[in-house]
């Protein structure tokens, strides 16, 4: 709990009412009650600036990209590459050619596991993940290690939700080929020390992938500062359309990698005997991409930049501190994950009620939370709970919504006791 939090409800960092008026869905009612949306870790709503930009593009400007020399196509291609530049700037990447568009974090990690992993990880080699990874950053590495006869090693997590870094030091060897960890845990909210993780992995010659699905929407990211080799993200978790996301990959590393999906647009030259591949990022973008969604992603980044990522982080931190204080006062409630460095996620466990019952009952009060294992079953097992109810906050959430959550949780505890 932070004593240094000077943010009061009356003096917020952001004009949240104004921000909320940008998000049409936030003013909807669910079963006659105002929607209180606290499942931003799963997906986020879209501001009208994004919705309108996609609509305008589809109705007035739409054309394919990179395939034609007529004006519609050239215009689309220009907007598409401008969006790539926006992503590069947003992540602090040196060049836009180091940004690959994919369908999201899951596909980005699979791309790296396939195109880097299958080429450079061999029998006897080692891959390191952590005990608080999303299944998307677990299963691709398990499959790779099974296939190659490599060993998957896991950084343990302490009771407070922080990675045990002394154990990480011991896991690293000269056989480590890749270290893949998240920047922010989707199940616990822990912000991991990715700079230190990367520096130590590089010291033994391993490459580093950071899963940024939960960090890019909520804090300033600087891939050059982290110095990671790959950094993945999902658009729909950062106020952009679904179906689009991507990754940063260092050019010198991506140039050594083979394609993942093959087909049109990722080639240099194709004859019936042989194909040579295009340079990254085109090498990893076979087929016609989700063009409108890329334009929408660019608009979402403009929207976030206009508010400012530092302000967003500061405001969400004040929501987290407030919520933590409020929920810790409730008897029979446990918050799983109390890392010192934490994003605005509250993973809630009640002695009295199972998360699925909690979610159904909160829904009757118009409050949307995720209940379940959050695609992080190894994390749930580690903390000895079958599932949690997760409140994941965004800059459009209000302090009064956290009050409503606490009131409902009290009511649920009483109902089941």
């Amino acid at each position: 709990m932070s004593d240094t939090n000077t943010i009061s409800i009356d003096n917020p960092i952001l004009d949240v009412d104004k921000i909320r008026s940008d998000f049409p869905l936030l003013s909807k009612e669910i079963g006659g009650k105002p929607l209180i949306y606290l499942d931003n870790g799963a997906t986020t709503h879209k501001p009208k600036q994004v919705i309108e930009r996609v609509r305008k593009f589809d109705s007035d400007e739409y054309g394919t990209v990179r395939r034609g020399s007529y004006r519609l196509c050239e215009h689309s291609t220009q907007l598409y590459e401008e969006a790539r530049q926006k992503v590069a700037d947003f992540l602090g990447a040196p060049t836009r050619q180091e940004i690959v568009f994919t369908s999201g974090t899951t596909q980005s990690i699979n791309l790296v596991a396939h195109s880097f992993g299958r080429k450079f990880v061999n029998s006897g080699d080692e891959v390191i993940i952590s005990n608080i990874e999303h299944h998307a950053n677990t299963v691709p590495w398990q499959v790779l290690c099974d296939e190659k006869g490599a060993t998957l090693k896991v950084i343990p997590v302490a009771d407070n939700g922080e990675l045990v870094m002394e154990e990480y030091d011991k896991l690293l060897t000269n056989k480590t080929r890749i270290v893949a960890v998240n920047h922010v845990s989707n199940a616990l909210g822990t912000i991991n020390p990715v700079n230190e993780i990367t520096r130590k992995a590089h010291a033994v010659g391993a490459k580093v992938l950071i899963d940024g699905a939960q960090s890019t929407p909520h804090m300033k990211v600087d891939v050059q500062g982290i110095n990671c080799d790959f950094y993945t993200f999902s658009g729909h978790k950062m106020y952009a359309p679904s179906g689009i996301g991507g990754m940063f990959g260092k050019m010198e590393v991506m140039e050594t990698m083979s394609p993942y999906v093959t087909g049109g647009d990722m080639i240099m030259q194709v004859t019936l005997e042989k194909t040579t591949y295009a340079k990254p990022p085109a090498r990893f973008e076979a087929g016609t991409p989700p063009i409108s969604q890329v334009i929408g992603l660019g608009a979402a980044i403009d929207y976030l930049n206009a508010i400012g990522m530092d302000k967003i982080f500061e405001y969400e931190k004040s929501l987290l501190d407030y919520g933590t204080r409020l929920l810790n006062d409730i008897d029979g409630l446990r918050i799983i994950g109390n890392a010192k460095e934490k994003a605005a996620i509250l993973s809630i466990y009640l002695e009295a009620a199972h998360p699925h019952d909690i979610i159904t009952m909160l829904d009757q009060d118009g409050i949307a939370l995720r209940g379940g294992h959050h695609c992080a079953q190894p994390t749930m097992i580690r903390f000895g709970v079958p599932a949690t109810a997760r409140a994941s906050m965004a800059f459009y959430n209000k302090f009064s919504e956290i009050d409503a959550l606490a009131d409902s949780l009290r009511k649920i505890i009483k109902f089941f006791s």
Binding site: H356, D357, T360, D365, P386, K411, F415
Partner: protein, 152 residues
């Protein structure tokens, strides 16, 4: 106090707090492990079958899950103890269709007894598997499925 809906009736809350037949069975003739991979509900059903008479002599369960899945399993064990195997399969069929909204015990002849109290779950599509996991697992035990069952 709100939440006075069809889903969380007193009987369900009672069976959630004090599940019946909630123990391992040492001399079971078959058992089955059932999971709901989406939410992590995890139960094991133990059966003692009288193969000659085709009767479920005894039935019990262990595991963890939400109030709906725990109460559904508890009530199922109470209801099926002593029932014929064929009748149990028929009841499974009726129960399964009822929670999906494909069978209305208020309009059609049925063998569900007090289990009709789970009828309200048809209004909550995301929760039907909570109620039906026990039944799928029970049938798995009848069929002696050693690999277990899953709702997905």
């Amino acid at each position: 106090m709100s939440y006075d809906n069809e889903l969380y009736q007193q009987v369900i809350l009672d069976h959630n707090r004090k599940p019946r037949n909630f123990h391992e069975m040492e001399n079971s003739t078959s058992s089955c492990h059932g999971i709901n991979p989406l939410c992590g509900d995890d139960i094991t059903i133990y059966l003692k079958l009288d193969e000659a008479e085709r009767v479920i002599q005894d039935i019990s369960f262990t595991g963890s899950g939400c109030a709906i899945s725990k109460a559904s399993t508890s009530l199922m064990t109470q209801y099926l103890k002593g029932k014929k195997i064929d009748e149990s399969r028929l009841i499974f069929d009726e129960f399964h269709k009822m929670v999906l909204g494909d069978f209305d015990p208020e309009k059609e002849e049925h063998h569900l007894g007090k289990l009709t109290l789970f009828m309200g779950i048809r209004e909550y599509p995301s929760r039907t598997k909570c109620a039906s996991l026990a039944w799928h697992t029970m049938v798995g035990a009848l069929d002696k499925k050693s690999e277990g069952v899953s709702t997905e």
